[in-house]
Subunit: 306 residues, 2 copies
């Protein structure tokens, strides 16, 4: 093939941001049958079952690709990229927003219509606190400088325990139990795996200080939600701010919605409506790398520990 | 006097944090009649009218001292300190909490019980935005590094226009009108003066972009509240997050409480319940300076432009 452009299929549907990014980086839009690259802007359900062998790289729009893994779609016959790192700034910002809204009682203040007595005595500052971040990937790397600028210290927990920049200390996942009594708040930013399922259970909730807030911007399954509701109602922790739930979405009568010390946002840390605009420059950069024969950003493989 | 301790009156009432601070820095608690220093932990109403001449320094607990100024209490016969700089970290944190809670739709998300469609399409990221801070004192100095860590840029406005560290640019107050169309959001951190009264009026609200949020952690009088309500209802701006109101407190039926895009917290940016704990190390430091003959922190004078 002597063409100077790279044939890229963009599916499903059209998207102005991704189209512009692909064309700006030397790609030309073609049908899947003629493609060397597939930029897949959809989910797992309508992913093409007959992916041509000529497709050398599949760029997924998703950050969490458990379903692609579970369906066995991620193969080793081509390169796969996901987008987890590309959305990290936005997710980190939402985590910070929740970690401030909870201890600083923002929703409670709005609901209580100037109940100064109650809000004034329950508000807590993030400044001077210790925040545990469970799962120290891209979200943590974006979140840590924000927390440090707010005067908080961070204990990072990752698989290896390898030092995370900006954290006061880093612990390996098998020592996570040491973290609970030593932190003021917890941010969950770990992938959903068999090991992280119900990471936050009754015993963890009992070990946390009673002023602790738990922020979840990862996956709902990381928390035993029934145990969480019991612990919040019993005052074992101060509250929880959840951008993800289990099940998701919650039913309209889910008791989460009726507990004033649980803040629920509808999985918008990385808003779907702005997704392709955020993703576009990264797709362009990876396409540039692909054409230059360089290593791609955010690759995943069948062995990835998601 | 040969005593090695400095006689300090602490009034009104007792306070464990301030007592410990005073004693740790070489002070000894005495009655006002015997005091060289008065640490005044109250407001203006019960301030002693017969302040002995022997009192060389009055340390006020308050950040905003308009009422002391108006009452003519701040004289030039002794040194006066207020506490505005000492609470700046806490107030800056609250400003950031409000600036995230608004654009990221936290209270709206809680109220709407997982209305993903609406929240997802109205949420905005602070990352990449430009925030105007009006009044570039201690609160701004604490807020700017937080905003920069969040990927926002700052236009600072102060009286002189003298460059504020960390701000992309600084404008003098007489050029503030240039800021409105060029910023995404506004944080009010200016003192309450005749010039700042109704700084935010109908014309400013019309000049701001329609996605703008206004955060007020200063004084309610800086905003023409009737104009604000009209502008928010008309969609001229996205919303307002107010820790201070005019009048304050608002009446129980104040329309502020019924406008979903106005967030009201009950003047808790610097919670009264934690005040003396926050203040104590600063009182200790100033007492150390006083005893050493050094310049005190956070002095105010009858000429201060508060």
């Amino acid at each position: 093939m002597t063409s100077e452009t790279t044939p890229v299929a963009l599916a499903p549907g059209h998207d102005e941001h991704l189209t512009a990014a692909i064309e700006s980086a030397g790609g030309v839009l073609v049908s899947l049958a003629d493609a060397q690259v597939l930029v897949w802007a959809g989910g797992v359900d309508d992913f093409p079952t007959d992916l041509p062998d000529a497709v050398e790289w599949v760029a997924l729009k998703l950050a969490g690709i458990e379903e692609f893994m579970a369906a066995g779609l991620i193969d080793d016959r081509r390169t796969w990229t996901n987008a987890s790192g590309f959305y990290a700034e936005n997710v980190a910002e939402h985590a910070l927003a929740l970690l401030l809204a909870g201890p600083r009682q923002i929703p409670a203040a709005v609901t209580s219509r100037w109940d100064k007595q109650v809000i004034d005595t329950t508000i807590r500052s993030l400044h001077g606190s210790t925040v545990a971040i469970i799962g120290a990937g891209g979200i943590a790397r974006s979140l840590i400088p924000r927390l440090v600028a707010c005067g908080a210290e961070v204990i990072a927990v990752n698989r290896s325990g390898r030092r995370v920049d900006g954290a006061r200390e880093t612990l390996p996942a098998d020592r996570v139990a040491e973290v609970w009594p030593r932190c003021d708040h917890v941010v969950l930013a770990a992938p959903s795996t068999a090991e992280t399922r119900h990471l936050i259970d009754a015993s963890v909730l009992a070990a946390l200080p009673d002023h602790a807030w738990i922020v979840n911007v990862a996956r709902g399954t990381l928390i035993d939600q029934a145990a969480l509701l019991r612990a919040v109602r019993a005052g074992e922790i101060a509250g929880a701010a959840l951008d993800v739930t289990d099940p998701e979405p919650p039913g309209p009568d889910d008791p989460l919605f009726d507990e004033p010390r649980i803040i629920v946002t509808p999985h918008v840390a990385n808003p779907a409506s702005g997704l392709t605009r955020t993703l576009a420059p990264w797709v362009a950069e990876n396409l540039r790398r692909f054409r230059a024969g360089e290593e791609l950003l955010s690759t995943v493989s069948p062995d990835s520990t998601y």
